[in-house]
Each structure stands twice: as C-alpha cells, then as structure tokens.
C-alpha cells in the first residue's frame, strides 16, 4: 500500500508519541489527508463567466485544470449574485462535463430508423444545400397586390434565448438577408 509507511508512521505509535491517546486528531491522519488541496487551489486558471440558466445573470467562476473544467461556482465579485447560485447554476459543471452530453454530429436520413455518424464539414455542406434549395422553393417576390415581399417561407428557426447576443445578431442578420422571416425564440413561448 503506502510505500512510505514505516513503523513510526503507524498511527498507534503516533498516538502515543503525540499524546493523542484517544487517536482522534493528527495522529490518525493519512498522507492523503495531510496533503489535501481543493481543486480551486490547484486549477491552472480561473475564468469569469455567467450562469447559462435563468436571466438573473449570476456570476460564475470557471476553474480549469489540464484544459478541462474542474469546477464552476458562484463569483463573489458579482454585485448581481454575490457568489451565490441556485441548484441549476450549481450543476453547471455537470452540464459541461456530463457523460450524457452529445459531442458528435449525428444524421437521420429520411425514413431512417437510427442515427448515423456524419462528419461536421459534410453536415454543414448538406445544410447549405438544403438551405439554398428550400429558400428558393419557399420564395415569394410579391403579394397578391404586387407589393414587394422578397422573402422565403421555406425556412424557419426557433431558439436563441440561451445564446449570446453576438450569436443572435449573426442569426438574425443572415436569415433576414436570406429573406427568411420565421425566426423565433423562447421569448414568445
């Protein structure tokens, strides 16, 4: 077991030597206990972030070790949240590292009965094809009175309330330029 173990490190001996006769304190600590360090102290870096759940916008501190998130907790600096988090916010680390999280692109072909793997580049190309085609299929130049519409009804989107402002900006910008108007998010749900 412990390679450094010697007779003198035997707690019974330490009990007597240290006067902790009832063996309750330092005499019985293990090497692991004595060298205990919180992973907040051993992290390579700490990054300030914001909780992804509700709109209170609680500050989070993200602790990174070996390019992996090891801990997410409340940021005491935040005047909004003062370091506190709700159960969901407290579970953020699991949200990031959960074994159930999907990290691979998957594809279900029409009428298919199961997922198939697909590489991301191909997937995006396929989406581009379909985007352009559906955009054309759903295109409306004018309404029945000849007034300009210049839009497509072939493509819709839902989502954005948990996305960044910059992301929503690109989504709205791209879709609007493409003439897609059926762009919605959680705010209307």
């Amino acid at each position: 077991m412990d390679p450094k173990r010697t007779f003198l490190s035997w707690p019974v001996v330490r009990q007597v030597r240290a006067g902790d006769l009832l063996a309750r304190g330092p005499a019985v600590t293990s090497e692991k206990t004595r060298s205990l360090q919180p992973r907040t102290a051993t992290a390579d870096r700490v990054v300030q972030s914001v909780c992804p759940y509700c709109a209170v916008g609680c500050g989070q501190r993200v602790f990174v070790k070996d390019e992996r998130v090891v801990q997410i907790e409340g940021d005491p600096d935040s005047p909004v949240s003062r370091g506190r988090l709700c159960p969901k916010g407290s579970a953020s680390e699991q949200l990031v590292n959960s074994p159930g999280r999907q990290t691979k692109v998957l594809y279900r072909r029409p009428h298919g009965t199961s997922w198939e793997p697909l590489d991301r580049e191909t997937a995006i190309d396929m989406i581009v094809d379909r985007f352009i085609e559906s955009r054309r299929n759903g295109w409306q130049d004018t309404d029945e009175h000849g007034r300009p519409l210049r839009r497509t009804m072939g493509i819709a989107s839902l989502g954005g309330a948990t996305l960044d402002n910059e992301e929503n900006y690109l989504i709205k910008k791209l879709f609007t330029a493409a003439g897609a108007i059926q762009i919605e998010n959680q705010a209307r749900i």
């Binding site: 909004v80 949240s81 999907q102 594809y107 519409l149 960044d164 900006y169 749900i189």
Partner: protein
C-alpha cells in the same frame, strides 16, 4: 434586481420568484430582513409563498380584476401620489370624446371591428391643444398618415416594438387639465372604468377574500409615497395569457398612481427565464422586430422607406424615439455597408416584408400543413416546451429537414423514433420523411460572448476551454453557414441573392481560429463611418446619424464598446462599488440601471425624500446627477419648457421623465400601442369554466385564435359541455429543472431532485376524485390526455368563485416522453392549445380547463379514444370557444 432590496413592499404576482429566480430572490429576502413586506399573489402556495409575509391564492387568469380593484381602491380613497401623478403621468391629459369604454359597450371598447376581430384605435386618441374635447380626434394618433389598424399591428406583433419605448404619436401638443376634474381626463376615465372593480367583485371572481384584498391594498398604499416605495415582480404567470400584456399594464397603472416608477425600490420587475432572453429580444431572433425594437417592415404599411421612417417614429414627438430613423439607417449600414446608400434608401428593400403573423405557433401550423421545408432548433425543445406538444411533434414530422443544435439528445431530435404519437399509431418511424441533423453546440464556458440578463445588463463571458468533439458555438456555425451560402451563390446574378452577397460578413478570426465575438459586439456597438471620427467606435446612441455616416447593429447597445473597451466585461467587484454597481457589466441604454429615473426626483429636481434619493438636479453645476446615470437630457433643467411643437429630446420638458414616451409622461391610459384596449379590463381566459361576471363579452375580443381541427377548446363559462372539463389547470416550472429539461433532465444532480412528472391537487379535489398521494392520475383536456404522479397538498386551495367551488390542478411542465433523458414523463404542455395574446403573440399556458381521474392513462390508440370520448361528451367543435365577440346567447 439588487434594487429590490430598497423596496418597502414587494408584491410578487404572476411569478414564482423564489423557485424560478432563487438567486435574484436574495434581494427580496434582504428587503424582508430589513422590514419590507413581501406578498405573493398566486394560484398556488409555492416556495415563494412560503417565504413571503403573506400568500393570497387567486384564480389563474383573474389578475386584472384584483389589480383593477386596487386601482379603484387607490382612486376612491385618494391614496394616489398626487404630485407625481399630475406631473409625471398622463392623468391630466384629455382624451377625445369619441372614446367609449367597456363599461358603456358591455365589454368592448370603441373601435371594435367584428369582421377582423380587432380594434381600430383611432377613437382612443388624445384631444389636441386648441380643440375642445368635442373636437375630432383625427389629428392625434388618428387615422392620419402612418395610422395602422390594430389588425395589422397584431399580425406583426407590434407590442414587441415597445421593448425600449412607447409607440409613436403624431406630436405632443396634448390638452391637459391639471385639476383632474374634466370628465374626459384620463384620470376620470380611469375612475369610471374601475368603479365596478370592488373587493366584493374580487372575492367573487378571483376567489380572494375581502380581508386579503384589504391586506394587500393597505400594505401597498402604506408603503408608497415620498418616503417609501413598493415594487411588483412578475414573470410568465402574467405574460402567458390571452390578456397577458394587459396584466402588466394594470400593474403599471398602479405603480404610476402610487408614484413607484423610476424610483429606487419601485418599478415593475420582469423576471425573465433564460440567460439571454432579454438579449434575444433586444437583438431579436423574433419575426416581427429588428435589433433595437425597430419594426420589421410590413407589406402595405411599410412598402417604401419613407413609409417606414414615418411609421416608426415622428420627429414631432418628444424624446429619444424621435430619432428612430438614425437607428434604422445605422442598422442598415451595419448590415450592408457600402451597398447601403442614400440612393437605394440604405438598402431598405433588402429587408423581407411581413404579411401577417409569423410567430412560432403560426409557423408550427404552417409546418404541419406542409408549408415549411427546413427548421433550425437552436437550444429549443418544442416537442416538450411549447404549447400543444402534439401539434409540435406532428409538425416536425412534416418537415423536409431539421437541424437540432443542443447539448443533449432532446425529444425534439428524437421525435421520429420515440414521440408519443408513435405509440398511438399516428406516426410511424419509417413513414417520417424528415431528415434530421444533430449538431452539438459549445457550452457557455466553451465560447466567449455576452448575455443580457433580465435587467438589461450585458455581461461578457470569457472562454474557459475549447469545445469537445464536434461541438461548435452558434457564432462559429452561423458564420460558417453564411460563408458557405455566400460562396455557393457568389456567381449568382439573381437580385434576390444580392442581400446575401452584399452582406457584411468578413469577421476577423481570433487566435483559436474562431470568429471573434468581440468584433461582432463592436459591429453591434456601431462606428463612425465618415467625418472626423471615422473609424472610431460610437460612444452612445446619440452619436448615431440618419445620414449614413454611422453604423450600429443595435442602437440601444451603442456604448457597450465605447472607446474600444468591452464594457460588458467590466468586472469591478461589487463590494468595491456602490450598490448600483455601474462598473460591473454594462446596461442599455447608456449603462443606466433604473429606467426613467428622472422620476425619482420631484418636479423641481429634488429627491422626493432623503431616504429614496437616487437622481437629482445639481443646481450649481446645472446638470442631472446621482447614484445612477440620469435617464434624462443631462442639462435640461427641471424648469425648462420647450416651445410647443418641439420634437425629439429637445421637446422634453424638465418634468417629462418618461423620455421614451411620445409625450414624456407615464401612460395610465394608452391612446396607442395596446391592441386590445387603452385600459386593461377583465376577460376570462380562452378556456375557462367561469362566466365573465363583468361583461357579456367572455374573453379578450382581440385575442388570436386558430379554429382548427387539431386545436380544439372546451366550452367556457356556462356553455353546455363545460362541465366535462370542470377544473382549471395551470402549468409552471420548478427550481430543480430548466424549462423543457434539455439542460436539467440529463444531469443526475438535478434529475434526482425532481425525478418524476407530478400533478398537484388539493385534499378536497383528491377526496372528490379518489386521488391518492403518490398514486397516478390522468388529466384530460380538449387536446390530449396525460398521466402524472399525484401530490396531494394543502398548498392547492379550492376557491369559491361566484358561489361555486373551483378546483385548480398544478402541472410542472419539465418532462417529456423519450428514451434519452435520465428522467422522462408525459409533458404538461400536451394539454395546451394555441390561443395568443394579440399584442405579443404569446400563448395562454397559465390557465386551461381539464378533468382529472385516478389511475394511469390508456396507451396506444385507446388514448386517442379517451380524448375523443371527452370531446364528444362536451360537444366540442372547431367553433367552440373560438368566437371572438361573445353574442347574445353567450357563445
């Protein structure tokens, strides 16, 4: 949020704040420890009620009666804050005499168009200076240029445009009677309108005892005034109704009457549910608005640039909205750069036009009817989280292709193999032609970007690690998608492709090879394009010009990157600054933390009281100053009075604190902007076992209904068949889960805390229906039937409504049917149908009618038979409850 700690009384209604915003609730707790009274008004006794001074149980959907009775109480007993009301609200403003109230027309305001099912609001307009109250209202908000019928406004969900300011008026030359005695003053109209909203009516309609009503009335009025302020907090408990926007309006009227707006510890706090749901309305992924609450152009109304500019704002109106043309031009310059020129009206014609409502529910129906080919789901799980889950899933099965981007394998991505409709035989995996792409996104720590939280505060998140595997941020994905679409179309000479090809899409990459979020935020902030500051970032929205010399992707965010500093990333620790904490993040507009804070000072510019001082006029330096950025023209002295007819910021008098409103005043009466009436008035929900006791008109006559075979409703009120669905159900969230569960049902830490779908019923209802705690129940609505475990609890209280006992069933909606999540179950949203608020097109999911029976639901086809059996017993047809105007026979 932090400002709630300054309140002396907090009324939480339409929100379960302790459960849904626990960390925000710390400020309520703090206020309470300092002695503030906290009252929770809600159908259910929740964790918020448990930690409030008082819980007042109320029937879901009857809030306007309760709040209207408070207004009546305040007016009848002279409890309003007179100086504030006269100076800062439109109480003294005189309304044209064509206006007819619901009290005169049995539940309808003047201007109702039966054919279109909507209002023409021209008769609600203010009377104009120089004309008597008898004068035609034609010149103000009347059918002059730019006037738009309520129907078309509703179609484009115009209510959303007021996210940053009020609607346009032609000008601000209004007539006022500061004695408030003229019968045509808003004040007197208000008094008459709410006269029948008595405590007894509250008892009868809301099920709230007269004593409880007086308790609330006393707490609220005793804690409002010069020295004290009260706050309201609401959430989707108010918005998810066919009368949702009017619920909030009623509270706004109370707060204006009590002088609680624009002051510390006052206001109305909207508690939003998602990390950047505020941001996603500011920079909208919404069909009807452009960034900064500029309208999406509507065919017929905004066909030309001139039409558009004239409609969005009027140079003659007071305040900062008068410059909306500068914001629109700057947006177009940001998007189309050099291709947007004065000659081509800044590429205005590159914008697609709306022709009706294209909200998520209309889109779902179009999808189900085969009109939509492709759909992107970006962190949304409509199969579980949207109203009428069945319709959502059946619609997904009609798509040609679907892109799902989510952290976990949500039900909306797997509907083709495990939707409940497969079990009932309505869908068959092999027959579903939808092609599904599942692309995993980066989590919040795997990308840098800004969220805008519920109080308009932008907070930058730094990136901690790279995303794993194929995971990619939306920023990266959409940048890539746009790039490839543009490459594919590069040789096109089709004019319809010009907007894509002319789009500014050259973003710099950062050291990780990813598109730089900072660069996008800079574009949003805006730049000087020409002139001596060319190339510099805009300092704030007052920099923006309508001459094409500036760009800004979202004018209200202008200033977030002023002087090249990402202010959303400001992180001075809270304990090292004042409680207003202006050096943490950046709030729009102009880093203001409380809007309309000019109202925190009296008309002379002095704080109303030492205890509540916030922003005041510094006589010595002739400037507004205080704890926050003053929300006013900095150098406009309190005594300043503009020349009549002056528009824009210069048109604001020194005592016009509501700088985004067209007349600078807080609106008790909304002459424009609300599509279902200038004053909130009570209507029953679309589906209600209760007859409207105030008017013959049963439900909001301007609500949006969708009479379809797949969207049936139970009979309401006393209509025959209503007894088949005798109970009210309401849906809600729990602390332990997040909406449709995509970010919680896959996590063991959260799943184990609330592992199963349950319904909450009172011991009385349990007794009546034979329901057992821990057992199963089947809940049936006119749309579907679901099963849930039963929690029998005294937290659910039967209410006596019009002499009849009414039971409510509580249903948290986090679970869905599928095989991928750690915990699954039937989805409460399957019970809901689609009926919408006319102002903002939000569905009614807080009140519906149902039956509840002990035991598990049938499976397979038998489930459909059960639903049909109920429908036929109740005599439900497509028309049931879908008449907008209630006719003589009460249908």
């Amino acid at each position: 949020m932090q400002d709630l700690a300054n309140a002396d009384c907090i009324i939480i209604q339409g929100s379960n704040m302790a459960e849904c915003h626990p960390v925000g609730y710390q400020w309520v707790t703090e206020a309470r420890l300092k002695g503030a009274k906290v009252i929770h008004i809600d159908p259910r006794f929740t964790r918020t009620s448990a930690t409030a001074d008082k819980h007042v149980p109320i029937r879901a959907g009857s809030d306007v009666v309760f709040l209207g009775a408070l207004i009546n109480h305040i007016l009848a007993n002279d409890l309003y804050f007179k100086e504030y009301v006269v100076a800062y609200t439109n109480a003294a403003t005189i309304v044209g005499n064509e206006f007819k109230d619901t009290e005169d027309l049995d539940g309808l305001f003047s201007g109702y168009d039966e054919e279109l099912g909507n209002y023409d609001p021209s008769s609600w307009a203010y009377a104009t200076e120089g004309e008597g109250p008898d004068a035609s209202p034609g010149t103000i908000g009347g059918p002059a240029a730019g006037h738009e019928h309520g129907h078309s406004k509703s179609e484009r969900s115009a209510g959303d445009e007021h996210g940053s300011g009020g609607p346009a008026l032609e000008h601000a030359r209004v007539k006022r009677d500061e004695t408030l005695q003229d019968p045509h003053t808003v004040f007197q109209i208000l008094k008459r309108h709410y006269a029948r909203y008595t405590p007894e009516m509250v008892a009868d309609v809301c099920g709230v005892s007269v004593d409880d009503f007086h308790y609330v009335a006393r707490a609220l009025t005793e804690n409002s005034g010069r020295d004290r302020t009260s706050a309201f907090c609401y959430a989707v408990g108010w918005t998810q109704h066919t009368l949702g926007a009017q619920f909030i309006r009623t509270a706004a009227i109370i707060q204006l009457l009590l002088g609680n707006m624009g002051r510390p510890g006052g206001g109305i706090m909207a508690l939003r549910g998602h990390a950047s749901i505020q941001g996603s309305t500011d920079i909208p992924t919404l069909y009807n608005i452009l960034p900064g609450y500029l309208a999406m152009p509507m065919v017929g109304n905004h066909d030309t640039w001139d039409d558009y500019v004239a409609a969005i704002a009027n140079k003659a109106q007071k305040g900062f909205w008068a410059n909306a043309d500068a914001y629109a031009v700057s947006l177009l310059k940001a998007w189309w750069g050099d291709a947007a020129t004065k000659e081509n009206n800044w590429a205005y014609d590159y914008l697609p036009r709306l022709s009706g409502a294209h909200g998520t529910y209309q889109t779902t129906m179009a999808m189900k009817d085969g009109e939509v080919e492709g759909y992107f789901l970006l962190g949304q799980n409509p199969a579980v989280g949207s109203a009428h889950g069945r319709m959502q899933r059946l619609a997904l099965a009609e798509l040609k292709w679907l892109v799902v981007r989510d952290l976990n394998m949500i039900e909306s991505a797997t509907f083709w193999k495990d939707a409940p409709e497969i079990a009932t035989g309505e869908l068959e995996t092999e027959k579903i032609g939808t092609e599904v792409f599942f692309l995993p996104p980066a989590s919040h720590v795997e990308k840098a970007g800004s969220f805008t939280q519920t109080q308009r505060l932008l907070q930058w998140r730094h990136k901690a690690v790279n995303p794993p595997g194929d995971c990619q941020s939306e920023l990266g994905f959409f940048f890539e998608l746009g790039k490839r679409i543009r490459e594919r179309l590069a040789d096109s000479d089709d004019p319809r492709d010009r907007p894509l090809l002319d789009l500014t899409w050259d973003y710099p990459l950062n050291e990780d090879g990813e598109i730089s979020g900072e660069a996008v935020l800079q574009e949003i902030n805006g730049r000087h394009l020409s002139g001596e500051r060319a190339g510099e970032l805009a300092d704030m929205y007052t920099d923006l010009k309508a001459d094409g010399s500036t760009s800004s992707g979202c004018w209200i965010y202008s200033g977030v990157y002023a002087k090249g500093v990402n202010r959303a990333a400001n992180r001075k620790p809270g304990r090292e600054q004042s409680p207003v904490a202006q050096e943490w993040g950046w709030a729009w507009p102009d880093n203001r933390r409380i809007l309309y804070n000019r109202a925190s000072a009296d008309p002379e510019g002095k704080p109303w009281s030492e205890r509540k001082k916030y922003v005041w006029w510094d006589e010595e330096n002739q400037t507004w100053t205080g704890l926050d950025t003053p929300d006013f023209v900095k150098t406009t002295a309190p005594s300043y009075r503009p020349e009549p007819g002056t528009g824009g910021p210069a048109g604001l008098a020194g005592d016009d604190p509501f700088v985004m409103m067209a007349d600078g005043k807080g609106w008790l009466f909304a002459p424009k902007g609300m599509l279902d009436g200038p004053l909130p008035t009570h209507y029953e929900p679309q589906e209600s076992p209760v007859q409207n006791p105030l008017y013959r008109q049963q439900s909001n006559p301007a609500r949006r209904v969708f009479p379809r075979k797949d969207n049936l409703w139970s009979p309401s009120g006393t209509a025959p068949g209503s007894e088949v669905y005798p109970f009210v159900f309401t849906t809600y969230r729990l602390t332990e889960h997040h909406t449709a569960g995509g970010m919680s049902r896959w996590l063991p830490y959260l799943a184990e805390l609330q592992p199963e779908f349950f319904c909450e019923v009172s011991p009385e209802l349990a007794e009546e229906r034979g329901l057992v705690n821990g057992g199963w129940a089947t809940i049936v609505s006119a749309r579907s039937a679901i099963e849930a475990r039963v929690l029998v609890t005294e937290r659910m209280t039967p209410l006596v409504i019009s002499g009849r006992t009414l039971h409510q069933v509580g249903l948290p909606y986090h679970w869905g049917v599928g095989k991928e999540a750690l915990v699954s179950g039937d989805s409460a949203n399957d019970l809901l149908g689609v009926a919408l608020d006319p102002n903002v097109q939000i569905q009614e999911s807080k009140a519906g009618s149902c039956d509840i029976q002990p035991g598990r639901r049938p499976e397979g086809e038998a489930l459909l038979r059960l639903v049909h059996e109920y429908q036929s017993r109740a005599g439900v047809t497509v028309e049931t409850s879908n008449q907008l105007k209630t006719t003589e026979d009460g249908t």
